[in-house]
């Protein structure tokens, strides 16, 4: 402050928002040579200048209450003390930044006083004035709305009288706070309607001659200086979140003082401390004319850097920070670590231990500084680094047994598996058999697909727990032993040879498994092998690939060998005439496949092979020349031919009439062979030449007599002969076929009777009523009168005793 400013006690200070001015008024003398003041000082644009001269009524005084009242846009001043007795100052003055004007008179109860506290309460839009001392010590409350003073609520019990104390409005609490000045540590809140106890200032002790204001930067009410307990202090205390905390003094720092004005200076953005009295000489005679600003800048570090930038999981990551700016007092840095974006709980140091990181993790650190005032700066983050992962390694890879056996699992062994990071290492196994992937990711390769001579390869890859793969290890093996078998037909022969067994041990040969159908047993030689040995292959067996299993009875060594069961079949009957059908039974087909069977030139019949590879078909043989043919059976799995023998066959009528023509056909003869025909062993009655299929036919006249005759055909070349019978039954006619007794009927019969032979006519069987003689043409003719008889049906018979032939015809007697 300028030299013309007289340092003083009890000056009142307030901020005038409209003009951004700090207004200081009045004060009490430091020395007997001084006096009370009524000068006005204004702080604007960084300097103090003397303000307007006080009007006549605004007499010198110290410790007036003063605060800004937005409702009228003026600073309000009340009372004070001027050394006179009794106290008389109870006047109200208003200052608009330019001039002081007299305000309303105090009501009767508002006694003269000094050292009262006054602050604006925006919630009630009034100034709140409390306490002070005059003729007594007060704790009453008064409210001023710009027009008049009105009594406030009564002080509650325990709210001690006070003067020259701290009073400020805390917008965060929406309460007026009163502290100090009572000789005790009581603090009080005023919510616009009532007082209530606030947080005690016991931590600092009773504090007197102190002032305070709300510091929006610190978010609380700040109390600076004062006295008590003990001596004058330069302490600064902060009431925030309901608790008082002591602010560590910085450098420079306002010297200890009483009565120093404390106010928030919005234009400067800083807390302002002005004037007051020093503690020099213990007599309070040294006034202060200084102005101080406390401007809080949120603390922060310029940067956060991590080291190493590519840590391994066994390393700690350490952060370093750049230069710190801002902040106040003791700075407390909160370090936070983030792994994969998530905060690491419980780690607040500059180092993040290896227990918190894993390979491939991302790591980031943040530093946030909180200063002694609880101002928290921004989190400054480091770059994100990634935890490195070093590859695992292994030593040797081996397979046992080596060589391997057909049905013996192969087991891999890996030595010196290691990881530089100490990570768990998983070995990944990749097997191949003859270059093809086999098995699973396992150190054991089951003997699936093993065969003698199979080339086994194993690649082992070490992989750490983070997926990092190291150099692979490779081992090879080969499969020894096995069986070799011919491709059999079910029920046919199979030849099996084998190796890889113990010398001289017996080897059971089985189909498709070591417990499959036993095909046979063979003894290995001194080399553990056996030569091709014939066995009858089981039947039925489905066609297609099968495996032979040879198992050493002593060693248990199992050797295998692939075979393919091929189709086979037979027909029954296998002797067939032309047109004759047979049953083809096929074996060794692939189950489900369609099997077709046919004779040469014949119709094809089809059917599916059943689950055993068996199929049964019934093909019919077409004409085929003597002596044989082949039936062909085919399927996707194979074709086979089944031979059969041709049977000669005669075909013709089995009945006829004497001397009537009849045609006879023959098959199963040689192609273009002359075939002779004869009756009843007699001479050749006719001949014909067969076609290329060995078939042919001839029409001949039948013999002349009734009765059964034999017709025989015989190949002239092949000598094949086939005969057949033809029946020629005796017949007769009776005309009319009915009539009354006495009707004469005509009886005719033949040819067919032996000419000249007797033929009996009988009325009823055995009742010869007439004999007739066959004529030369072998015919008979007669009449016969129906004898007296009862009506009914009767037969008339002709009976030849030579041929033993007979015929009959009915007649109905009416």
């Amino acid at each position: 402050m300028p030299a013309s400013f007289v340092p003083r006690w009890d000056a009142a200070v307030s901020f005038l928002p409209a003009s951004g001015k700090v207004v200081l008024f009045g004060g009490s003398p430091n020395k007997p040579t001084e006096t009370w003041q009524n000068d006005t000082w204004i702080h604007a644009n960084g300097k103090w200048t003397k303000g307007p001269v006080a009007p006549a009524g605004l007499t010198p005084r110290g410790r007036p209450a003063m605060a800004y009242l937005p409702e009228i846009g003026k600073i309000v001043l009340f009372g004070g003390a001027n050394g006179a007795w009794p106290p008389a100052l109870a006047d109200t003055w208003l200052f608009d930044g330019t001039a002081w004007t007299l305000g309303p008179a105090a009501p009767a109860g508002l006694t003269p006083r000094a050292g009262a506290g006054m602050v604006y309460d925006p919630d009630i839009h009034k100034l709140v004035m409390v306490g002070g001392t005059g003729l007594g010590s007060y704790n009453d409350t008064w409210l001023f709305d710009g027009t008049a003073w009105t009594p406030g609520p009564p002080a509650p019990a325990g709210m001690l009288p006070r003067s020259s104390f701290g009073m400020a409005y805390d917008p965060s609490m929406r309460k007026v706070v009163v502290a100090g000045g009572s000789g005790a540590t009581d603090v009080w809140y005023f919510d616009g309607s009532a007082w209530s106890a606030g947080p005690s200032i016991a931590a600092m002790g009773p504090r007197e001659r102190v002032r305070m204001d709300f510091d929006p930067q610190l978010g609380g009410i700040v109390m600076v200086g004062g006295i008590g307990p003990g001596f004058v202090t330069s302490d600064m205390w902060l009431l925030r979140a309901g608790a008082w905390t002591k602010v560590t003094l910085g450098t420079p720092w306002p010297p200890a003082r009483l009565d120093g004005a404390v106010l928030w200076h919005p234009n400067t953005g800083a807390l302002m401390v002005v004037g007051g009295v020093r503690d020099l000489g213990l007599d309070g005679s040294v006034g202060l004319a200084d102005s101080w600003f406390f401007n809080e800048v949120a603390p922060q570090v310029a940067s956060v850097t991590l080291s190493p930038t590519q840590p391994t999981e066994n390393q700690s990551v350490t952060l370093s920070t750049g230069a710190t700016t801002g902040g106040y007092g003791k700075l407390t840095t909160r370090y936070s670590w983030y792994v994969n974006g998530a905060v690491v709980e419980g780690v607040g140091t500059r180092s993040l231990g290896p227990q918190y990181i894993r390979p491939m993790d991302t790591v980031q650190a943040k530093a946030q500084i909180t200063d002694s005032l609880g101002i928290v700066g921004p989190d400054v983050a480091s770059a994100v680094i990634t935890v490195a992962d070093r590859a695992p390694a292994l030593g040797q890879v081996s397979i046992s047994p080596n060589p391997g056996f057909i049905l013996t699992p192969l087991v891999a062994a890996v030595t010196n598996v290691r990881d530089p990071d100490g990570d768990p290492v998983t070995l990944r196994y990749a097997w191949t058999i003859d270059g093809l992937a086999a098995g699973t990711d396992s150190p054991i390769l089951p003997p699936l697909g093993f065969h003698a001579g199979a080339a086994i390869s194993l690649t082992v890859t070490p992989v750490d727990s983070w997926g990092m793969a190291g150099p692979v290890g490779i081992a090879t093996d080969s499969i020894v032993g096995g069986l070799t078998g011919t491709n059999p037909r079910p029920g046919g022969q199979i030849y099996v040879s084998g190796t890889g067994f113990l010398p001289l041990e017996g080897v059971d040969i089985r189909l498709d498994s070591t417990s499959g159908t036993l095909i046979g047993t063979v003894n290995a030689d001194l080399l553990g092998a056996f030569q091709a040995t014939s066995f009858i292959f089981p039947s039925p067996v489905a066609g297609g690939p099968h495996t032979l299993y040879g198992k050493g009875k002593l060693s248990g060594i199992v050797g295998t060998g692939p075979i393919t069961v091929v189709p086979g079949g037979s027909i029954l009957p296998s002797y067939l005439p032309s047109g004759g059908s047979t049953t083809f039974t096929g074996l060794g087909f692939v189950p489900g496949e369609i099997v077709s069977a046919s004779f040469p030139g014949g119709a094809v019949v089809q059917g599916p092979a059943d689950s055993t590879g068996t199929v049964s078909l019934q093909p019919a043989s077409p004409p085929e020349p003597w002596p044989s043919g082949t039936l062909t059976a085919s399927a996707p799995s194979g074709t086979l031919a089944v031979g059969y023998t041709v049977i000669s066959k005669l075909s013709g009528p089995t009945a006829g009439a004497p001397l009537s023509p009849a045609t006879f056909s023959a098959t199963g003869y040689g192609a273009s062979e002359t075939v002779n025909v004869s009756f009843d062993g007699g001479p050749v009655a006719g001949a014909f030449v067969t076609d290329p299929k060995g078939s042919g036919s001839l029409t001949l006249t039948l013999p002349s007599t009734f009765g059964t005759h034999t017709v025989a055909v015989k190949g002239a070349t092949t000598g094949q002969s086939v005969s057949a019978s033809i029946a020629m039954k005796a017949t007769m006619t009776v005309t009319p076929a009915s009539g009354p007794v006495g009707t004469v009927v005509t009886i005719d019969s033949g040819p067919g009777w032996v000419p000249g032979s007797t033929v009996h006519v009988e009325w009823g069987y055995g009742n010869i009523v007439k004999d007739l003689v066959a004529d030369a043409g072998g015919k008979v003719h007669t009449t016969y009168a129906i004898p007296n008889t009862v009506p009914g049906k009767f037969n008339l018979w002709l009976v030849d005793t030579v041929l033993g032939q007979s015929a009959y015809a009915p007649f109905e007697v009416k």
């Binding site: 006690w9 009890d10 009490s28 003398p29 430091n30 020395k31 007997p32 040579t33 001084e34 006096t35 009370w36 110290g62 410790r63 003390a81 050394g83 006179a84 007795w85 009794p86 106290p87 000094a114 050292g115 001392t133 005059g134 003729l135 007594g136 010590s137 007060y138 009288p161 006070r162 003067s163 020259s164 000045g181 000789g183 005790a184 540590t185 016991a202 002790g205 009773p206 504090r207 007197e208 001659r209 006295i227 008590g228 307990p229 003990g230 001596f231 004058v232 009483l258 009295v277 503690d279 213990l282 007599d283 309070g284 005679s285």
Partner: protein
């Protein structure tokens, strides 16, 4: 803190008046004897003419003739016109404190007889002068207390021969320097010989005045200085115990009179923590404190909650008094005066010992002197405390006795009804 050491009582010309001894009155209160109603003025702030009933102290109050009284008066030098007493009587005062000065009583050193026996040569004329002043005051109805005050005519405030090697237990001849004075003050409390001499002169004084009517009491020692001893309870208690011992000698010499004592310094330092059981056992005792506090805040003591609460006065404490070398202006308040007195009353209440503010006054150059007397007397009267204003703050001088402009404040307070 020894701010009161700077006060310039020595400027006052002393008028010593010898007063004949009177009878011993029964007392009540701590002494417990049934009272003859003191007359005149018992129970009021003023007394009519005539030697007032013997003052007693007990139950936290002063008593006279079986009735409680509140003492309101002045502290003044022995020397001066008897009309001073008429004046203060006209102000409705009933109490005067006079300063007894050892330096005046025993200007020459004692003679060592060996075996711890010393032969003193006391100034009987001085005793006579004091007795006369006491009588003059008491006959105007004033209760008179004699305080064992410093003699500013000496360098060390007590007889200067005490500070020569033969006459102190430390065997030191203390230099006439501030440091030497401070050392002497410090050593006093560990100096049996000086304490012996002190007790002997006090006992002599009491014995001489015991027959004198109107002596209300004796004060053992004015504002005991503690030198460089720590401002602690132990120091306070050491001083109190020494005063108790001396007080017992006084009581032995004059059993009827109230024994006034101080704690440490002038401001009642240590009172809240003091062990006063010895004084309680003695009975009929009262505590004297002197109010030269600035009263700008608090109780004047370091605040409650301070580790040395009650043992140390607040800094920035001394604003005033007739010493121009403490250029302070009084801007204190009733609030603080109330708190100081209340703190003392609270401390004394358990002991049943009454309080008197035996001195208070201000520099006439102090622009705040009106407020000073207004706030002090308002505070004292509000709490019913007895008090004695510094005479020389109220009058222009001890001779003309012209009133200072602010004297009416004190006079009005003296006439105010008790609470």
């Amino acid at each position: 803190m020894t701010g009161s050491k700077l006060r310039s009582i020595s400027r006052v010309a002393l008028l010593l008046v010898l007063v004949c001894a009177g009878g011993v009155l029964p007392v009540r209160g701590a002494l417990g004897s049934g009272g003859v109603a003191a007359s005149p003025g018992a129970g009021t702030s003023s007394t009519p003419g005539g030697v007032p009933p013997q003052l007693t102290a007990g139950d936290g109050r002063f008593w006279a003739g079986g009735a409680p009284v509140t003492l309101r008066g002045v502290y003044m030098p022995v020397g001066g016109s008897e009309t001073r007493f008429d004046l203060i009587k006209s102000w409705n005062m009933n109490f005067v404190r006079l300063n007894w000065q050892w330096g005046q009583l025993e200007p020459n050193p004692p003679v060592n007889q060996g075996g711890g026996v010393w032969t003193h040569t006391y100034d009987a004329a001085y005793v006579a002068r004091v007795r006369a002043v006491v009588t003059a005051a008491s006959q105007r109805g004033l209760w008179v207390v004699l305080g064992n005050y410093w003699d500013r005519a000496t360098y060390f405030n007590w007889p200067d021969w005490l500070y020569r090697a033969p006459y102190n237990s430390h065997g030191l001849t203390y230099p006439l320097t501030p440091e030497g004075k401070t050392l002497a003050e410090t050593d006093y409390w560990s100096d049996p010989l000086r304490q012996q001499f002190m007790t002997e002169q006090l006992s002599y004084m009491a014995a001489q005045l015991a027959p004198t009517p109107g002596v209300s009491g004796y004060e053992v020692m004015n504002e005991p200085p503690w030198g460089t001893l720590p401002s602690t309870h132990e120091t306070t208690q050491l001083i109190l115990d020494s005063q108790l011992s001396a007080g017992q000698a006084i009581r032995a010499a004059d059993p009827a009179r109230v024994l006034f004592f101080m704690t440490r310094g002038y401001f009642g330092l240590g009172t809240p923590n003091a062990d006063l059981s010895g004084f309680v056992a003695m009975g009929n005792v009262a505590l004297d404190v002197h109010d030269y506090g600035g009263a700008r805040w608090g109780s004047g003591f370091n605040n409650a909650g301070s580790s040395d609460y009650g043992e140390a006065g607040q800094a920035v404490l001394a604003p005033l008094n007739g010493n121009l070398d403490t250029p302070n202006a009084y801007t204190g308040s009733v609030a603080s005066q109330l708190r100081w007195v209340q703190a003392l009353l609270d401390a004394l209440k358990p002991w049943g010992i009454p309080l008197v503010i035996g001195e208070f006054g201000d520099s006439t150059a102090d622009p705040g002197i009106y407020t000073y007397f207004g706030t002090t007397t308002t505070g004292f009267n509000t709490l019913g405390a007895s008090w004695a204003a510094l005479w020389l703050s109220l009058v222009v001088d001890n001779e003309t006795m012209a009133l200072q402009p602010w004297a009416p404040i004190v006079i009005a307070a003296a006439g105010a009804p008790p609470p």
